[in-house]
């Protein structure tokens, strides 16, 4: 069976070669054109297709066995000349979209590149409106096409950034498609860790295709894109979670696992909130690099602006700078930032303050203790109000307003948590006091509703009794007058 299959394959390859013409040495197209010393035949000599025995007629059609020009370039024999526009990619796809042909040449390349290209952002119509933006030869070139593994190929990992930048760094060209798209990606990339390693000749670090894909590139706002916010951590982790792949760089590979457990990771990956920060929001995208100690608060501050501002004007700023502590990271961690709870504050063993403020007589210790007590009292007030509101609600009373007040307490709590970063107990107390006041208001509302419930029932009882009494009196009166 295996032998039969091998024979069939051999016959198939022979047929292909016969269709496309004779092997290169007997390829009349190439022989004739090389004597003309034209650029195409010179390039074609080093083309992977030439090396695989594919004739010029493989793409251009015609008869590569004919000596005569007219016979060789006869349209009746399928000669198409120089393919133009979308025809170019269609000619490539004749073989590259056909698994049998590709496997016949011993290629393991996927055969869906053409379909992927057509459905990609590059497959959209160009500004002229008649052809697609990108054809195969835009990136792979024509006549001198090299294997992707060949360092001379424009799509070899070390060359990809430059290849992409031919269009993507051309502001004049790019603005005709997307005026808001930056054109500094290549410059940014060169400043990144990935870019620097790439420039030093290391093909392993990420280049454009590693993150955006190759033939199947989708716009960033497309949920199918590898760089759509929700997909970014997965894309980065393809390399950064691969211990073997990352071994030589000597950096941890647990960032993705940690990030997935973090408040940011849960928001992005579990709640699918595209506004939550992904890897690129802290590290940059094209210019990806780990933020330095001095930059951390700036990076976090792009979203947590108030916290960063309060921290900068707090006494901690100077202390952290002196001890060279990374600002936010010291208390909150980096990839595994969990939701900040009250436990983080104070002098209990789970609190972060106690790791520095160990002396019970120090003002730092006292402040931490006081702030924890205040925020706990805010929680207690809120919980007490919630219990009363639930009781009132279960009795069928309208407690919408009290519920709104509960929301206000949550807002105050958020404000208090921000105010923590000033590390000023008096300012913190001012904020918490507002919440405590709202909490007692909400409790009073709920108590009022519970009281109203009792009042309604008592009121009903009294009314029903009085009406019944009146009705009974009336009944007796009617009986009396009807007896007469």
């Amino acid at each position: 069976m295996k032998r039969i299959l091998s024979m069939i394959t051999a016959v198939f390859i022979f047929c292909i070669i016969s269709v496309n013409g004779a092997p290169a040495a007997e390829d009349k197209c190439y022989l004739c054109h090389s004597t003309m010393d034209d650029k195409e035949s010179k390039l074609f000599k080093d083309d992977i297709h030439f090396q695989k025995g594919i004739s010029c007629s493989g793409c251009h059609g015609g008869d590569n066995t004919a000596e005569d020009n007219d016979a060789a370039m006869n349209k009746q024999k399928g000669f198409i000349g120089v393919p133009k526009g979308n025809k170019i990619s269609e000619v490539c796809a004749k073989c590259h979209g056909n698994e049998k042909i590709m496997r016949g040449y011993g290629s393991k390349l996927p055969v869906n590149q053409y379909d992927n290209l057509v459905n990609s952002v590059h497959g959209k119509l160009a500004v002229e409106g008649s052809v697609r933006i990108v054809q195969c030869i835009t990136c792979h070139t024509a006549h001198g096409i090299k294997s992707v593994k060949n360092p001379l190929s424009p799509v070899y990992p070390l060359n990809i950034p430059q290849t992409c930048s031919k269009c993507h760094s051309d502001a004049g060209y790019m603005k005709t498609y997307n005026p808001s798209l930056a054109v500094d990606q290549y410059t940014m990339y060169k400043s990144s860790v990935h870019g620097k390693l790439n420039s030093s000749g290391d093909p392993k670090p990420a280049q454009c295709a590693s993150c955006h894909g190759s033939h199947d590139i989708k716009p960033v706002k497309d949920i199918r894109s590898k760089v759509y916010p929700v997909n970014i951590p997965g894309t980065c982790s393809n390399c950064h979670s691969d211990k073997e792949y990352m071994a030589q760089y000597k950096i941890p590979t647990d960032q993705f696992a940690k990030y997935s457990r973090s408040v940011h990771g849960i928001a992005l990956l579990e709640k699918n909130d595209p506004g939550a920060p992904a890897c690129n929001n802290c590290h940059g995208n094209h210019g990806a690099t780990p933020p330095g100690v001095e930059s951390i608060s700036k990076v976090c501050g792009t979203c947590h602006a108030l916290n960063a501002e309060l921290f900068s004007s707090s006494p901690h700023k100077k202390a952290f700078d002196e001890k060279n502590y990374p600002e936010c990271e010291t208390c909150h961690g980096n990839h595994e930032i969990v939701t900040a709870t009250n436990k983080l504050l104070g002098v209990d063993k789970d609190a972060v303050c106690i790791s520095c403020h160990t002396d019970p007589n120090s003002s730092g210790y006292k402040s931490a203790k006081l702030m924890r007590q205040l925020i706990d009292s805010l929680d207690n007030t809120k919980n007490a109000a919630m219990v009363l509101i639930n009781i009132a609600e279960q009795k069928g009373m309208d407690v919408t307003e009290a519920k709104f007040k509960l929301r206000d307490i949550n807002q105050i709590k958020l404000e208090a948590r921000t105010q923590v970063h000033s590390f000023d107990p008096s300012k913190f107390k001012d904020v918490v006091s507002k919440g405590l006041l709202i909490g007692s208001d909400a409790s009073a509302d709920a108590k009022g509703a519970i009281h109203e419930y009792s009042f309604r029932r008592v009121g009903l009882g009294v009314s029903v009794f009085l009406i019944c009494l009146l009705a009974f009196g009336l009944f007796l009166y009617i009986r009396r007058i009807e007896k007469k």
Partner: protein
């Protein structure tokens, strides 16, 4: 004191001839027979109407009839206005009980054949009052401007739009535009608090005058000269006090319902939200709604819904004109067929309402 009162009475009597009115009241009697109980439902219906007018006026002090404020104003009435929740709940419950009481009153009159000569016009005015009661319910239902009311009005006005020839114009008139919007709310508010009360009160006064002029109808058997005349009781104070006793009982029921099952408000209407699943009209329209659902979309060459509307229209017209085609009863002859027809109508309404409720 007594002297002052008799002086005031004399002063009024000189101007208004109160003596003849008091003679009329003194002489007025109410027949006593096995079906006398049904007489009270007219009075109960009147009591509910009075409650509706009083609570409606109180609600008007705070209600705002615009799409932006209607829902919020009801919220305000329910949560902030002293006893606002009670007034609204009583208004909502009394509306339902009013319709139920009118239904009972109307069918009791039908089964007693009280529409027969000379009370044809009293019957017509009563049926018109019944139709107006339904319109009151339909227009009032939208006023809280909540999601359920919004979509129910949409369905209701869509059905009105299927009336042949005038349908589209009628729908446009009811909605005040192509769709149910704030303009519809303003219109329904106007109908509910001005137009319908005006017409209703006029017809009600005519109805009551006719009842007073013609007296209470007696069972058909008493028309025959051979039968012994039924016993009677004085209208004042006996019947009136009995009426008031029942009103007190009804008031008690109403208070209990309003406290234990206060009217809900739901979510604010949103034209862009999807309609709630299984949306249904109020219970008193349910039998018609359910019937329209059962009629196939195409019946021979006719559109099912249009046919259904035409049939209900025809049934309403026949109901209005009962005294004119039930000639036997007017001659004092027992007409059992009318009883069977009435029973079929009651059974149809109850069964279809239950089916609509559970579906």
């Amino acid at each position: 004191m007594k002297k002052h009162l008799s002086k005031t009475y004399k002063w009024l009597d000189d101007r208004l001839d109160l003596t003849s009115l008091s003679h009329f009241i003194e002489k007025k009697t109410v027949p006593i027979h096995r079906s006398s109980i049904w007489y009270y439902f007219g009075g109960v219906s009147l009591f509910f109407f009075i409650i509706q007018v009083c609570t409606g006026i109180l609600l008007l002090f705070y209600y705002k009839g615009s799409a932006d404020l209607a829902f919020e104003s009801i919220q305000f009435i329910m949560s902030k206005v002293e006893f606002g929740w009670l007034i609204r709940s009583i208004h909502a419950w009394a509306a339902n009980l009013f319709i139920l009481s009118v239904f009972i009153h109307m069918f009791s009159v039908y089964f007693e054949k009280s529409y027969r000569r000379p009370r044809e016009l009293t019957w017509i005015s009563g049926v018109l009052l019944f139709f107006l009661t339904l319109f009151f319910g339909f227009s009032g239902y939208l006023l809280p401007w909540n999601k359920l009311a919004f979509f129910a009005t949409k369905v209701g006005t869509d059905i009105a739009g299927n009336v042949p020839i005038i349908g589209e114009a009628l729908k446009g008139f009811l909605r005040g535009g192509d769709d149910v919007t704030g303009a519809t709310l303003s219109r329904f508010f106007g109908f509910h608090v001005a137009l319908f009360p005006g017409i209703f009160t006029t017809i009600l006064v005519i109805h009551l005058i006719m009842v007073q002029r013609q007296g209470m109808s007696e069972p058909i058997e008493s028309d025959k000269e051979t039968t012994v005349k039924n016993k009677t009781m004085p209208f004042f104070p006996n019947f009136m006090l009995r009426d008031m006793l029942l009103w007190l009982v009804v008031l008690n029921v109403l208070a209990i319902l309003a406290v234990f099952f206060p009217a809900e408000l739901g979510e604010k209407a949103d034209a862009f939200a999807s309609a709630p699943a299984g949306i249904k009209p109020e219970w008193y329209f349910l039998f018609m709604f359910q019937t329209l659902k059962y009629i196939p979309a195409k019946l021979f060459v006719f559109d099912g819904e249009i046919l259904g509307i035409l049939l209900f229209g025809l049934a309403g017209l026949l109901w209005l004109l009962v005294p004119f085609w039930d000639t036997k009863s007017s001659k004092g002859i027992r007409n059992r067929k009318m009883n069977y027809l009435g029973l079929a109508a009651v059974a149809f309404i109850i069964i279809l309402t239950i089916l609509g409720w559970v579906s």
